[in-house]
């Protein structure tokens, strides 16, 4: 395992009420790559993402981000954007208003950056419609916008293509490739093998809380 990896999971296990949720997960992930996680419902993808964010504490093992151990040297990663479940956006606010309310918590980005994030996911930042008028796909796009707006080093997206139409999926793919080029470490979970194969540099297959397969998806020009 590379000592210099941006994100490391070392023998990570989680047991909840005698049930093994994650079992001996080892990861070594770097910036500038997209990592895909595939598996059936209940295979442990979301729990793994929660553990990597510091939301659940491992029963055994550890998570190291940028050299600091999660849960010991820091409670949560210093720079992370996630989409794990639908954020509870306010129905009476516009997309921009909702993101601004969240962005104010850290106050590290201005209105222009929020508008840019909304534009990047294919929405109109000047759209005056309230969130309640948004379609499911638009809600998903706004969820992705909140994950990327603060330009975090680590981006974790659980089923980001849910509710997106084919154009939306294509736009998301382009967005992720742009973020990858900006040296972000991107983790995505999906059921769709083709989609993950296309997007990911490395793919992890999960089953019953374990990584049962791991392979590189990118082929060189020679190959």
């Amino acid at each position: 395992m590379a000592a210099s990896a941006f994100l490391q999971a070392v023998h990570l296990s989680k047991v909840i009420k005698s049930q093994i949720i994650l079992k001996d997960i080892n990861l070594s992930l770097d910036k500038g790559y997209i990592y895909g996680f595939r598996g059936k419902n209940g295979s442990g993808k979301t729990m793994l993402f929660r553990a990597l964010c510091g939301l659940i504490r491992p029963t055994e093992g550890k998570v190291i981000i940028d050299g600091a151990e999660l849960g010991k040297e820091m409670s949560f990663p210093p720079s992370v954007g996630v989409l794990i479940e639908h954020p509870g956006f306010l129905n009476g606010y516009t997309g921009f208003g909702n993101l601004k309310l969240l962005a104010k918590l850290n106050d590290v980005i201005d209105d222009d950056r929020i508008r840019e994030a909304i534009r990047l996911v294919g929405l109109d930042p000047n759209d005056k419609r309230k969130y309640r008028k948004y379609s499911l796909g638009m809600k998903q796009r706004l969820g992705i916008a909140q994950a990327i707006m603060e330009e975090p080093d680590l981006i974790i997206l659980d089923e980001p293509t849910n509710a997106l139409d084919s154009d939306g999926v294509e736009e998301l793919k382009n967005l992720l490739l742009t973020l990858k080029a900006k040296n972000k470490c991107i983790l995505i979970a999906s059921h769709d093998k083709e989609e993950l194969d296309y997007l990911s540099d490395e793919l992890f297959v999960m089953e019953n809380g374990k990584i049962i397969d791991h392979y590189s998806c990118k082929v060189t020009d020679d190959e």
Binding site: I16, R50, C53, L55, I56, R57, M74, S75, F76, P77, P78, V80, V82, I84, E85, H86, P87, G88, L90, G92, Y93, L101, L102, K104, L105, N106, D107, Q146
Partner: protein, 265 residues
């Protein structure tokens, strides 16, 4: 932490505005009904507040028991509003807020701050609403001793108290009781479902309508069980405030401890 608190304030008002409006609309209707009912007796707003916010008093025989609907409505509804927001925020926003504020303790302190603020402003607005509406209907904006107070309320008292004292006891009683019950709600939702939590709160409040034990958390908003209506139980304002604050602090500390220790699933 203050950013998280202000975000909670903005979010809760926007999220629950229809429910807040419903609460104040019902309270306004009850105020109008009570005011019209006692208009012929030269009453003022303190009398209306007393009639609206009073409980069923100390029960000496089971046959005397009457459900104090007004008191239960005024005590339950704010708890439901507070619990509803706490549950909504826990289930939908917690992940996103925690990863931005990066501290479970800061997150919880902001929630506790919001609960305290909520317990205060809801009752400030409620008392103000009752004062304005009843004063307009009764044509008397004073808070002094009315004929109704002297003839109807004072004879019920075992120890004399002024209308101002009655007002202060009712207002502080409801605020501290709501604070305590909210803190207990916050503690309970760390372990059990919001529905089960609400059921526990209803049981806690209902217990106080049967019993006169001053150790029950919901009894401190019950004006008829205070020492000037019922000297036997020594329920003074000082005791209510001190006891409620103690329970509030303990519940908040345990809630923070439980939240820090638990996984965010």
């Amino acid at each position: 932490m203050s950013r998280l608190f202000f975000r909670d304030v903005i979010y809760s008002v926007s999220y629950g505005k229809i429910k807040y409006l419903a609460f104040f609309a019902i309270a306004a209707c009850l105020t109008i009904m009570k005011s019209v009912e006692i208009k012929p007796f030269s009453a003022n707003s303190v009398d209306v507040m007393f009639l609206m916010l009073q409980d069923n008093g100390t029960i000496r025989r089971a046959a005397d028991y009457q459900v104090p609907f007004y008191w239960e409505f005024i005590q339950f509804f704010p708890l439901i509003l507070i619990g509803d927001f706490l549950h909504q925020d826990e289930s939908s926003n917690r992940t996103y807020l925690l990863l931005r504020c990066r501290s479970k303790i800061r997150y919880m302190i902001a929630k506790i701050g919001w609960m305290t603020w909520q317990s205060g402003w809801l009752f400030i607005l409620l008392f103000f609403l009752i004062y304005v509406l009843s004063s307009l209907i009764l044509g008397d904006f004073s808070l002094g001793s009315s004929s109704y107070f002297q003839q109807q309320i004072m004879p019920m008292m075992e120890a004399k108290a002024s209308p101002a004292s009655l007002f202060v006891h009712m207002f502080i009683g409801f605020v501290v009781t709501t604070m305590v019950l909210s803190a207990l709600q916050l503690l309970c939702i760390q372990f059990i479902s919001p529905i089960a939590t609400l059921f526990i709160m209803i049981c806690l409040c209902s217990l106080s309508t049967f019993s006169s034990s001053k150790w029950l958390p919901a009894i401190h908003s019950m004006i008829l069980k205070r020492n000037f209506f019922d000297t036997a139980h020594h329920l003074t304002l000082g005791f209510s405030v001190a006891y409620s604050l103690l329970v509030y602090v303990l519940a908040c500390v345990f809630a923070i401890y439980a939240f820090v220790k638990k996984d965010i699933l």
